[in-house]
Every structure is written in structure tokens, then in C-alpha cells.
């Protein structure tokens, strides 16, 4: 029946959207405020998934290990990002975008192989936590609880981020630094710390995305490559540094992909790219206001 398939695909599309959104919002922040196109973002996401795997195994298959991993993994990734930012990026902010982009690409390569070094090359697999196993039956059709969980997590994070960026002092300073860093610095604020903080938050989000998706995919090398292009495009069409824009972009991307596959299975994956091209032709700076 068409409508049940449609409904099912929509749910799937939306839960994919959640993960895309969480990771993309991290990238959007980094791109919007620090003006770094972070190609390593996908690698950080992958790192989050692998660390989550290790944490769960460390604490055993108990009910709490997943939730612990959900907190610990992003923190570790964020810390790692902190080291990267302090150690490398902070010295290179006045270089051209191209250089920064290539530097993040270099890190993507390094992190990718580090993961291989530490965890080996085999697939890793995590099971969904007990509470969320199984599915709800709606009209006789299964909707896995975990997908429903993801659907609730997404908007929560969106609201949280929006509050953070628009209502807290840090958020306002970060937005100001994105627009005019000299001015912010002239007013006596340590822009460098602002940048560090933003970068760390961005990395945290990437790690969180990885930890969230870990139970429902094969945790494997190559996760970084498959995600990074999608996240990049989402950030572009949403508007750099704009959280709602990223949400919108993720929705567009996730939904066009799911629906595309339903309508034209063979070429389904081109629909999101097509959507991106259309958006960029008419609104090259993105759908919503960007910080640039």
C-alpha cells in the first residue's frame, strides 16, 4: 500500500535527518564562526561511534552502558577537537580558507588511519539498549523504538542549540566573532577562547552523532567518507552558522533521499544532490541567513 510505505519512509527519512542534523549543526557552527570548512568532521563522527563501542564494551552489556557512552564518547571527541584546535588551527586562522580546508583534510586522513590503528579493520557492532529494543506496531507495521527515540532527540538538541546560541552570553559573543572578529577583540574579549569553545562544541556534536548512530549501523572504516559530503552540502544550503537553516537543510536532504529511493530506486540517491543544486542556484548563500 502506498501510504504505509510512504509513512514508513518518512519516519526513516526523519530519523536519518536527526543524525545528519546533529553532525551538520556541529559543522555549521565551526564553519560559521571559525570559517573553517572542517573536512575532518566526518572522521570525528566516526571516532564517536568507535569510542562509543569501546565504552559500551568496557562497562559490559548492562543497561546503563549505552547512556554512559552517549555522554562519554562525545566528550572524548570534543577533547580531541580541543587539542587539534589549540595545537594547530589556532595558529592558522589568518590563512586562506583553502589552506585550512586542506589542513582539516589532512587530519581527516590521519584520524581515519588512527581509527584503523587502534580498533583494527573489522566491523564492530553494538546492540540497541534494552529499553529501546523492539518496535511499536502502528497499523500492524513495525516502527522501531530506536528510530522514534532519534526523532525526539533531534528537536531537543535543536532547541537546546538555538537557546545556547541566541540566549546565552557565549552564544552571542560567538555570533559576533563570526561577523567581526576584530571588533570583538577590540572590546576586550579573548576571541581565541571563543573560537576554541565553538570548535569544541562542534566536535562534541559530531561525536554525539556517531554515538547515536552506533547501535543501528555497522561501525566501520569509511563511515567518515560517506557522511562528510552530505553534511557539507546540508550546511551550505542551510546557511552557514544558522541552526534552523541546518535543520531545514537536513530535512530536505533526508527526506529527498528517502522519497527519492521510493519513487526511483535506482537513481534515488541523486535527488538530494539535485535539491542542493536547485537551492544553490536560486539562493547561493543558503536558504536562511548565514553569518558570513
Amino acid at each position: 500500500m502506498f501510504s504505509t510505505e510512504l509513512f514508513s519512509q518518512l519516519i526513516v527519512g526523519l530519523s536519518r535527518t536527526t543524525i545528519l542534523f546533529i553532525v551538520a549543526s556541529g559543522m555549521s557552527l565551526i564553519l560559521g564562526v571559525l570559517r573553517i570548512p572542517n573536512v575532518a568532521h566526518g572522521s570525528l563522527y566516526m571516532l564517536g561511534a568507535f569510542i562509543s563501542y569501546t565504552v559500551v564494551n568496557f562497562f559490559g552489556e548492562g543497561a546503563y552502558s549505552f547512556w554512559l557512552a552517549l555522554i562519554i564518547a562525545p566528550i572524548i571527541v570534543a577533547f580531541f577537537g580541543f587539542l587539534l584546535e589549540r595545537g594547530f588551527f589556532s595558529y592558522l586562522y589568518d590563512r586562506e580558507h583553502l589552506m585550512l580546508l586542506l589542513l582539516t583534510f589532512a587530519f581527516a586522513l590521519i584520524i581515519g588511519d588512527l581509527v584503523k590503528l587502534i580498533w583494527g579493520v573489522e566491523y564492530k557492532s553494538l546492540t540497541t539498549p534494552e529499553i529501546l529494543q523492539g518496535s511499536a506496531e502502528i497499523y500492524g507495521l513495525p516502527l522501531p523504538y530506536y528510530n522514534l527515540f532519534l526523532l525526539t532527540v533531534g528537536p531537543i538538541i535543536a532547541i537546546f542549540l538555538w537557546l545556547f546560541i541566541n540566549k546565552t552570553k557565549f552564544g552571542k559573543i560567538a555570533r559576533a566573532s563570526a561577523v567581526d572578529r576584530e571588533m570583538v577583540s577590540a572590546v576586550g574579549i579573548n576571541v581565541s577562547l571563543v573560537f576554541a569553545g565553538t570548535f569544541v562544541i562542534g566536535c562534541f556534536l559530531a561525536g554525539l552523532g556517531g554515538a547515536l548512530i552506533a547501535p543501528i549501523v555497522n561501525i566501520s572504516l569509511g563511515m567518515d567518507h560517506s557522511l562528510i559530503m552530505e553534511v557539507f552540502l546540508i550546511v551550505i544550503i542551510g546557511g552557514l552558522g544558522n541552526i534552523w537553516g541546518t535543520l531545514l537543510g537536513s530535512l530536505i536532504f533526508g527526506l529527498t533521499q528517502s522519497l527519492g529511493i521510493l519513487i526511483w530506486p535506482q537513481f534515488g540517491i541523486i535527488f538530494p544532490y539535485l535539491a542542493v543544486v536547485v537551492v544553490l542556484i536560486f539562493r547561493p548563500k543558503g536558504l536562511l541567513e548565514s553569518t558570513w
Partner: protein, 307 residues
């Protein structure tokens, strides 16, 4: 000294097949065409200042055009070879026209999305393009179907292409392009049509990338969708960076290093991405002009001190 070096190098390259084992002749062909590819990117990024982020698309399209013409359309070889630059030129014109209104990063982004779209189509169109299996065993005319023949063919075409690019760079057009790169406002104010110049530059770069793609099919007899995947575009960019974005021969040297590195180091270690990443990091931090830009600067300083 510069005047006799190039002919010397060319002569060396001519006689290479007589004393190198077959594998190295094959490798040399790959280096030559990759060097052309890197130089074509440098033309538009280094000399033109245009953020061409997805150059690999034109390379891949040239290769696919040639391969498909030979295998699917059974076209005579000459036409198939010529189709490569033709297709790449047209596609770069179209993509260029769509993106030209945007500057810098946005240009790059739109190009990436267009390029990814093309990649996705080729990747999924299994029945026509072979999808992610690619096409292999593409037949070649007798004379160039062996390693040596393919090498000479490549050498001649690359030499001619590099010569043409050299002439363009040093022509009034080339100088105007660099002026636009350095100071667009000023160029506009003296009446230069910036967009037209940039568009022509993009088409030229795309054409030569397509030629490089065609050469790849000649040497390797195969095409794969990975040739136009975004990671390869970044790799070409790295070649330019390594060699020196603003020098003429830098990217060629960068391409040589990367190909050699990939072949020899990649064969012996699982972690060659790690090594590449580390080297790239070092180059970016310490030598932003690329290894060759750096050496050239040293050389210039030396001249200055001696003068």
C-alpha cells in the same frame, strides 16, 4: 641554464623506455598525465584564483567519454580520443556558467554539489557506465596498446599540452587572469570583463583535465567512478599545494611525488593515508607556498643577495 634543462629532460624522457622495466614505463605514463591534470588545476586556481574544488569531474568525464565511445558506440579511435576534451569543455562551460555568478567559497560549494550530482548519476547508471565496477579492458589501436606505445603517445600529448598552457599563461590573456586574481576591483575599473575571462579559464582547465582523462584510458584501458569522486579532487589540490600553487612546474612535480608516494609507500604499508596526512600537515604549516614555491623563494633570495 633553464633553457637547456627542459630539452634535456625531454630527451631523457624520450629514451626512458629503452632502459626501464615495463612497470616503470607504465608508472611514468601515469605521472605524465597526472602532472598535466595538476597543471590544469593550477591554471585555474593558482593563476586564476578561482576556487575549483571539484576538478576531478572533468578528468573523469574525459575518461568516461573516451571509454564509452570506444566500448559502447564503437566509434573510430580518433573520434573517441577527441570526444574527451570536447565533452569536458562543454561540461566545464555549463558548470562554469552556472557557478560564475558566485565568488570564492560559494563557487567552490556549488561546483562540488554539481560535481557530486554528476558522480552520483554515473555511479548509479550501472547499465550504461558500469556503475562502481567501472569499465575495463578498453581496446586501443595497435600502435599504442602496449606499454611503450602508450607511453610515447602520452609523452607527446602531454608535452604539446604543457606547451600550450605555457603559452596561454604568458599571453595577454594569462596576464589579465592573474591581474583579476590579484585585484578584481582594479581590473573591473579598467574595463576588463572579469566573468568572461574566468569562464574561459575554467573551460581551458576543464579541457586539459579531459585530455588527461583520455590519456588515462589509453594507458590503463579502464575507467572508474572514483576518478571523479571528491577525494580525488582534493588529492589533485594537494599535488598543486605540495609542488607550489603559483609556480608553473610545481604542480607537475607535486603530482610526481604523490603518484610515486602512492605507488611505493601505498604498497608497503596499510597506513599510507596517515603518512600523507602528516606530510600534508607539515607542508601546510611550514611551507604554504608548497615545497617548490619555498625552494623558488630561497633561490630568488639568493639571487637578490648575490645581485
Amino acid at each position: 641554464m633553464k633553457k637547456i634543462f627542459l630539452p634535456f629532460l625531454f630527451a631523457l624522457l624520450l629514451v626512458l623506455p629503452f632502459f626501464l622495466p615495463r612497470f616503470y614505463i607504465y608508472l611514468a605514463s601515469i605521472i605524465l598525465l597526472t602532472g598535466l591534470l595538476a597543471t590544469s588545476l593550477n591554471f585555474v586556481i593558482g593563476y586564476g584564483g578561482i576556487y575549483q574544488f571539484h576538478h576531478a569531474v572533468f578528468y573523469g568525464l574525459g575518461a568516461y567519454a573516451t571509454a564509452l565511445m570506444i566500448t559502447k558506440a564503437n566509434m573510430p579511435y580518433i573520434l573517441s580520443f577527441l570526444s574527451a576534451p570536447f565533452v569536458s569543455a562543454i561540461v566545464s562551460l555549463i558548470i562554469g556558467m552556472i557557478c560564475i555568478r558566485l565568488t570564492k567559497l560559494y563557487f567552490g560549494m556549488l561546483q562540488i554539489s554539481l560535481g557530486s550530482l554528476i558522480w552520483a548519476i554515473i555511479y548509479r547508471w550501472y547499465t550504461f557506465t558500469g556503475g562502481d565496477d567501472g569499465i575495463h579492458g578498453v581496446s586501443m589501436p595497435e600502435m599504442i596498446s602496449n606499454t611503450k606505445g602508450a607511453y610515447y603517445f602520452t609523452l607527446i600529448i602531454v608535452a604539446i599540452s604543457m606547451f600550450i598552457i605555457w603559452r596561454i599563461v604568458n599571453s595577454p590573456f594569462g596576464k589579465t587572469l592573474q591581474a583579476i586574481r590579484d585585484n578584481p576591483m582594479r581590473s573591473l575599473s579598467i574595463g576588463i570583463d572579469i566573468n568572461m575571462h574566468k569562464l574561459i579559464a575554467i573551460v581551458i582547465a576543464g579541457t586539459f583535465a579531459g585530455i588527461a582523462g583520455m590519456l588515462f584510458v589509453v594507458v590503463d584501458n579502464s575507467v572508474f567512478p572514483d576518478m571523479m569522486f571528491w577525494t580525488y579532487s582534493l588529492e589533485i589540490l594537494i599535488m598543486c599545494l605540495l609542488g607550489g600553487l603559483y609556480t608553473f612546474w610545481g604542480p607537475f612535480a607535486g603530482a610526481t611525488s604523490i603518484v610515486l608516494f602512492r605507488t611505493f609507500v601505498g604498497a608497503y604499508t596499510k597506513y599510507w593515508s596517515l603518512m600523507l596526512g602528516i606530510i600534508l600537515t607539515l607542508v601546510i604549516i611550514f611551507l604554504p607556498e608548497g615545497v617548490f614555491g619555498f625552494i623558488e623563494k630561497l633561490w630568488k633570495n639568493r639571487d637578490k643577495n648575490n645581485a
